[in-house]
């Protein structure tokens, strides 16, 4: 029973990582950049939802919706103001800018909300936990909903990318930016859309994560951001199913390491697994072998 309960916790944590990792992987796929500010968008999403529900007394779901809209706009704005002017200048400039944007967002949050941790009210405040097997297995509504949300996001995103015109255009731009322009695809629009989707998902992840671990500080997004990035690399960066699988595996490893090995060593074990995977398969679990174009 203990094992099952840990597995559910792992899947739930992994689902949060997977949703965040989607943002990393889609943005990397389309613009070949690592958006290290992605984790901080999660934090902003958490704070927006916090302000809406705790300060303004709104319903948690309305707060979530407002957080999604705000982060979507924030993501598009970041791309437009910070990354687009640097397109074509080499990946190092963009990487440093992304780190800059990350610190900028953290400090804006520090300025507005201060350094003291805020207690987040769970989206499922008052909802009873599910008790199975005569009360031996307790599943929190947070876990249940997070896992469900991840599955829904995965299905919707896969359909979007494979069936819609805008989704196919995103794939075309990911593969060959120049050829996509020759088709009449507006590459800037495709990239904006990717940032919008990734950042909207970051807000979802932020609210879900804060519901499960209800302490909010300006650096709340950093660690999950880095772990989700790890998950994206683990699964094969650029691959949507890879982000999902990478996230889930990472979440399960982390919870199991915490439960059966050592709480202190859990993060070390997670990153050690990443290193092993990359040694054996440098492109990640589902990553495609990409031949560099000259």
């Amino acid at each position: 029973m203990n094992l099952l309960s840990n597995l559910i916790s792992g899947l739930s944590l992994g689902s949060v990582y997977a949703i965040i990792a989607l943002g990393y992987t889609m943005v990397y796929g389309i613009s070949k950049m690592l958006n290290f500010a992605h984790g901080d968008v999660i934090m902003i999403g958490g704070y927006i939802s916090f302000v809406m529900t705790v300060y303004l007394g709104m319903n948690g779901w309305v707060g979530l919706l407002i957080a999604i809209v705000t982060c979507t706009c924030l993501g598009v704005l970041i791309e437009r103001l910070a990354y687009r002017p640097l397109r074509g200048t080499g990946s190092l400039a963009v990487l440093i800018t992304a780190i800059g944007v990350s610190y900028f967002l953290q400090n804006v949050a520090l300025l507005i909300w201060g350094a003291n941790p805020k207690m987040f009210t769970s989206l499922f405040d008052g909802v009873k936990a599910l008790r199975l097997a005569g009360g031996k297995l307790v599943v929190s509504p947070e876990s249940l909903f997070t896992i469900a949300a991840n599955i829904i996001v995965m299905i919707v995103l896969t359909l979007f990318v494979n069936k819609t015109k805008a989704g196919k255009a995103m794939r075309a731009v990911s593969e060959d930016n120049g050829a996509a322009q020759l088709m009449g695809i507006n590459v800037n629009q495709s990239i904006s859309l990717t940032f919008a989707i990734g950042s909207g998902l970051a807000a979802v992840a932020g609210v879900l994560m804060c519901s499960a671990y209800p302490v909010l500080t300006p650096t709340t997004g950093s660690m999950p951001g880095i772990k989700a990035f790890t998950a994206a690399v683990f699964g094969g960066i650029g691959s949507i199913p890879g982000a999902m699988i990478g996230g889930l595996i990472l979440g399960i490893i982390e919870i199991f390491a915490r439960a059966y090995v050592s709480t202190e060593l859990a993060d070390a074990i997670v990153f050690a697994c990443l290193i092993i995977v990359l040694l054996v398969k440098p492109t990640g679990l589902l990553g495609k072998k990409v031949s560099e174009k000259v």
Binding site: A169, R171, E175, A179, Q181, L182, M183, G184, I185, N186
Partner: protein, 236 residues
């Protein structure tokens, strides 16, 4: 007849490298015009500049009387220019059908179906492989897909960059036959080739590019007979 494309005195740079030095040429409606020249002479760069992926510092490019020198690449397609880039550059991870759909990205909805039928008529091989991932096609099939994809926007001017590259001679003949068929059906063609013999045999007019400049021009026949061209590009 009328002029479809006029390129006037374009100068293109890659950083400090002056790749195209004052190139001018024009293409009339219904023609097959070819740009021939050695590797690195600037043929592909010229096509990239016409389709907006690269910019000229000077001069002008006019298409159907309208300047497109400052038009964004993704807007040039809908004006009627389709570019089949060197190395085909099909979307490897997409299916044949999806590649063709991307070619019709700016095509009016009611034109997509007839255009698709036209493409399948020209390239029956593609019809047999609609659901296949494009990256698994053979080289010749990939070239057909790249051309089919470009035709999905119903272009007035089709620009082909090295369509014969890496193909077996029998496939080269086939591709050139298709190019001539497309031209007979009304598409104006601007063809860039290293295979000068093949290109000159189908072209109405030709320009020879050497180190970023137009060195010679004339009808396909004239150039094929010219001593300079024979020595430099036709192996004596």
């Amino acid at each position: 007849m009328g002029t479809v494309l006029t390129v006037k005195n374009i100068n293109v740079y890659y950083g400090a490298i002056h790749a195209i030095k004052g190139v001018s040429f024009d293409v009339d409606r219904g023609e097959i015009v070819t740009l021939i020249g050695a590797n690195g002479a600037g043929k592909s760069t010229t096509l990239h500049t016409v389709s907006g992926l690269l910019r000229s510092k000077t001069g002008d490019i006019e298409f159907l009387g309208e300047s497109i020198a400052h038009t964004a690449a993704h807007k040039i397609v809908s004006k009627g220019i389709s570019h089949v880039p060197e190395g085909r550059r099909i979307f490897q991870g997409l299916t044949v059908e999806e590649n063709l759909q991307m070619g019709a990205f700016v095509t009016k909805k009611d034109r997509i179906e007839p255009n698709l039928e036209y493409v399948y008529e020209q390239f029956p091989r593609l019809k047999e492989r609609t659901k296949q991932i494009a990256g698994t096609l053979s080289g010749g099939e990939q070239q057909m897909l790249a051309m089919g994809r470009a035709l999905m926007s119903d272009p007035e001017l089709l620009m082909l960059d090295e369509p014969s590259m890496g193909l077996a001679p029998i496939l080269v003949d086939q591709i050139f036959e298709i190019i001539q068929n497309l031209n007979k059906a009304g598409t104006t063609i601007l063809l860039v080739e290293q295979n000068a013999q093949m290109a000159l045999s189908v072209a109405d007019r030709a320009y020879v590019i050497e180190t970023g400049k137009i060195a010679l021009s004339g009808t396909g026949e004239e150039l094929a007979k010219s001593d300079e061209v024979r020595k430099a590009y036709l192996g004596g």
